[in-house]
Symmetry: C2
Subunit: 194 residues, 2 copies
DNA sequence: TTTATTATTGACTGGACGATCTATAACGGT
DNA sequence: ACCGTTATAGATCGTCCAGTCAATAATAAA
């Protein structure tokens, strides 16, 4: 009953995500977004509501996609420590350009801090499930003797999460792929039973 | 031979630092800066050159001050591991508001990434000396047997640096002081000889 | 075919932005 | 007392910003 949209909404959202991801929210202009998305001004407002709404939707989709990838890598290997290593190594993009973009979630935390309610809500969707899966795998590793049983599994899980953000920040700062991988392996090694 | 400045340049720079630190570069307006600094528009341009020059000067002063504090805390205790613990715990501000500001250097990396030349130069002034001191203290700890001798001291030092940024990002994300302290202690504990 | 509804397009709006200009004021050296 | 120099204050600059408007186009239901 109405004129159908001419552009691919999901594709446009992906393009917008890349711009926000690379530059952050404040220093991205709607003009840049329109150019990247290949749509006209009014179409952005029709389809997404506005700059901030677009950012929130982009961040949410990004979080959903990356979190699902993280959980897959964490759970796939038979050995829990191999899972954690795969999770950490999976954060490190091979392509230099991609890697230097860091993590959009980390960027959002850094840009908006703890104060923004909508952002905090989004963040709350992604932290707990990863933490829970990490605890599960760590306890599993402690049962098999692979993971140091002297550690509190929850503390260790939070430590791995902090390592994730630390790696992603180092990537954003221009860290070389191999240097980041060493860092990841070192962190995993520190969880081993010796 | 000329009219003297009426405001305290250092104090004004400190005030500007707080605003940039809390909000980042892009989402800070010169108007906000002027209000916080208590000076008129032209005085900012006379004394600091412009918004970006002011930011760079603020970041440099911030880095110098915090790095010196870090090195003091790292070197003060007799035990190397106690020094590293003091370094990490020293990152965690007691005051909730301060703590939620995170670290201005981390914010700069997140906002500008690896591409900005002036920013990279500033960052290069602060990383290496801390890394070198960390290596020294870790080797010292390995000599006394307190620190796990199985680790490569440089790898371990880079790991501690990553932990520093991870902690500061967690602080920016609203992490509670006690939770951050646990994280710091856990990281230090992982360096111990067991 | 008509009508209701939504999409597209490009011009436009008010406001905020960083930066500059102008006029006046305050100082030290002569 | 005057001069050269720099500081301050306020008005103003052109630009860019996010968002809106108005005119036209495309669809499906009736």
């Amino acid at each position: 009953m109405a004129r159908p949209r001419e552009f691919d909404r999901e594709l446009a959202l992906e393009r917008a995500t890349d711009v926000f991801w690379a530059n952050g929210y404040a220093s991205t202009s709607t003009e840049e977004l329109l150019a990247a998305m290949g749509i006209a001004r009014q179409s952005l407002y029709n389809a997404f509501g506005g700059k901030r709404a677009l950012y929130l939707e982009a961040l949410e989709a990004y979080q959903r996609a990356t979190t699902s990838g993280h959980l897959q890598r964490l759970k796939a290997p038979a050995s829990p420590l191999a899972g954690i290593e795969a999770l950490l190594l999976g954060l490190i993009a091979e392509d230099d350009g991609r890697r230097a973009m860091g993590c959009m979630g980390v960027g959002a935390v850094s840009e908006f801090g703890a104060g923004d309610a909508a952002m905090a809500e989004l963040r709350a969707k992604v932290g707990p499930p990863v933490l829970a899966s990490l605890v599960t795998r760590l306890r599993e590793g402690q049962a098999t003797g692979e993971v140091d049983p002297a550690m509190d599994a929850e503390d260790a899980a939070r430590f791995v999460q902090m390592t994730m953000t630390g790696l992603q920040l180092a990537a954003r700062g221009g860290g070389a792929a191999e240097a980041l991988r060493s860092l990841a392996r070192f962190a995993v090694d520190r969880l081993k039973t010796r």
